[in-house]
Symmetry: C2
Subunit: 341 residues, 2 copies
DNA sequence: GGGGAAGTTGGAAGCGCTTCCGGTTTTGTG
DNA sequence: CACAAAACCGGAAGCGCTTCCAACTTCCCC
């Protein structure tokens, strides 16, 4: 009875068993060219018989490829990661990566410590590529990646600069849809709750909403930032009501903020949707459970994650995919109903 | 202008610069004993001056330690990972790991493909330990880890067997609290929606609820399983109403199911909490936004993740921590209010 | 039938670190 | 002051794989 350290078979043993050189065996497992059909099959048989699995550390050391990618998440609001939004992103990324040999390293870069760890990870080249969900505008994480020169794909465009690779939802278009819907259903005095000010997504949603209103010949009465959080949304709603006592529609740049706004409206005895229509952005699961259920701009979050991963894999394989914008659409529910048929 | 392959300094260079052997340098960076103070400092200086970072692949290869742990999630309900519950777990784990040098590998083991990947990951010893969030009962993932003999920490106890290390919430106690609350507030005809049948958590919640009722001298009118999903909860509620037309309380083993139940009750014109009190389990963020807001058993999800990570780290360091049960408590909201003061 | 081009082949040199082991120095003790 | 125990030190042997390179076959076309 050994304590079974269970030595795993090595490439040498595979090669010996197949009667070829280690070089050839290596070529086979990496299915590289320059191996005759016969040898290739011999190696494959040996691999199967020995149940050989290459040692990733050794591969990494010799080839200088880590065999992993990292998804780094950063935002000011601590715990914002807990947002189901990120959970969906992670699922998308994980799903897409399932088709590859790459492992997914997850890194929360919210705290100073987290950013240090991120930096170290890059310097160590422990990952071959990076996916960055950076919510705040001043984010230097992208620069770090460039210095390490690892391929990066952004989830959502960063505030400054136009990175080579990103995937984003059509924030502007979605917000425009919201504006059109409100205009079409007879709303005339809209206000808006924007997100974190230093965020491109927030800016795009604000622009889209404004443009959409303008097309319909409507002014935007007021805008207040709400940090993308529920409480922030509530506070913004209070400020808006103070400045503009009688809006008949509010567009929030996220569902969380819309929920906060709903709370304030209810407290004030303002009826939704009779007095004020409310539209959110994201279409989180919880948007279905508010009362009334939230009309909101749907964005394909999981697909966003999947596309990020696919794009990164493409980059690693030497392709040069461009940016990708995923469509958004309006999900109409009770908080801003359509016209009665 | 080179294309800057940016060779990183190696341990040899550090050793040379510090005027010591590579062995000594290695000892220093691993802060192992048997190095004189003088040399230790010399090496540390050299490390700083060269900005040396050890190459993890090389370390892994030589030391047979991966420097990473994996969090594997498995459940039948695809996309259940998207549950904010998991997001919180991940945040907890990530936070705890921040204090260590370990990276976090995330693996979705829902699909057959995912499980294959998990298996490969173990055989490759790409991780030094495993955290397992296995929602379903028949889960063989645990056995795989044992075979690979890697330390495993379970999140929640598996249905069968009592693993050495797990961290779980006090499901039974929490459910008992729910029962007591209902009894105390005058409810006499309770029914329950349980979770996935093959789940220990569900069983524990059912047991706790039953026991709690028994202590108060109340019978449990009926139980129906609801798969831990919103739709499952709704269906269970329908079945319950069919069998027991007039309950005055329902306890759901998860918030999602409670939300489904609320929907059915509303559709049926049954008032909450006047006619029927509803209590959930989890205290997700969305529990605050139902109408009425959901009274629910709170479990410290993030702490659960943190403790899992801490426990695993402990195991890796050779400690033998035992299982850990985290307390739950009742969060009283509108769907099952307390007694008026 | 000769001259390559194109495809194969394996030896050997690493990749950058850990750790065993034998030897040397320092320390502690009676 | 002698002697064993404890601490320190560095040489060298790997860890398991990739890849460069030089040599060797085949095969094709004029």
């Amino acid at each position: 009875m050994e304590p079974s350290p269970k030595r795993m078979p090595t490439l040498d043993e595979v090669a010996a068993r197949a009667g070829v050189s280690r070089t050839a065996a290596s070529r086979v497992i990496n299915n590289a060219p320059h191996v005759s059909r016969a040898k290739r099959e011999a190696v494959q048989r040996a691999v199967r018989e020995l149940d050989f699995v290459p040692n990733p550390s050794a591969q990494a050391l010799a080839s200088r490829r880590a065999g992993a990618v990292v998804l780094a998440v950063s935002s000011d609001e601590p715990g914002l990661f807990a947002d189901p939004f990120f959970a969906e992103i992670v699922v998308g990324v994980g799903t897409a990566l399932e088709q590859t040999e790459l492992e997914l390293i997850l890194l929360l870069a919210n705290t100073p410590r987290g950013r240090q760890r991120f930096e170290r990870l890059l310097r160590q080249r422990r990952a071959d590529g990076v996916m960055l969900m950076a919510l705040r505008g001043d984010d230097s994480l992208g620069r770090l990646c460039e210095e390490a020169d690892l391929p990066v794909v952004f989830g959502g465009r960063p505030l400054r600069g136009e990175p080579a690779w990103y995937v984003d939802a059509d924030n502007e278009g979605g917000a425009r849809l919201a504006a059109e819907h409100l205009a079409r259903t007879g709303r005339r005095r809209p206000v808006m709750i924007s997100g974190q000010v230093d965020t491109r997504a927030s800016a795009a949603r604000e622009r889209g909403f404004t443009d959409g209103l303008a097309l319909a010949g409507l002014p935007l009465l007021g805008v207040e930032p709400g940090r993308f959080t529920e409480d922030g949304g509530a506070e913004a709603m209070e400020r808006l009501l103070r400045a503009h006592p009688d809006p008949d529609a509010v567009f929030a740049a996220s569902d969380a903020m819309a929920i906060g706004a709903l709370r304030i409206l209810r407290e004030r005895g303002i009826r939704v949707p009779e007095d004020v229509a409310v539209i959110g952005f994201d279409d989180l699961a919880s948007a279905r459970h508010t009362s009334p259920p939230l009309t909101t701009v749907h964005q394909p979050v999981r697909a966003l994650g999947e596309e990020m991963a696919r794009m990164l894999v493409g980059a690693l394989e030497g392709r040069r995919p461009g940016p990708l914008i995923l469509p958004t659409r309006l999900t109409v529910r009770g908080s801003a109903p359509g016209l009665p048929a």
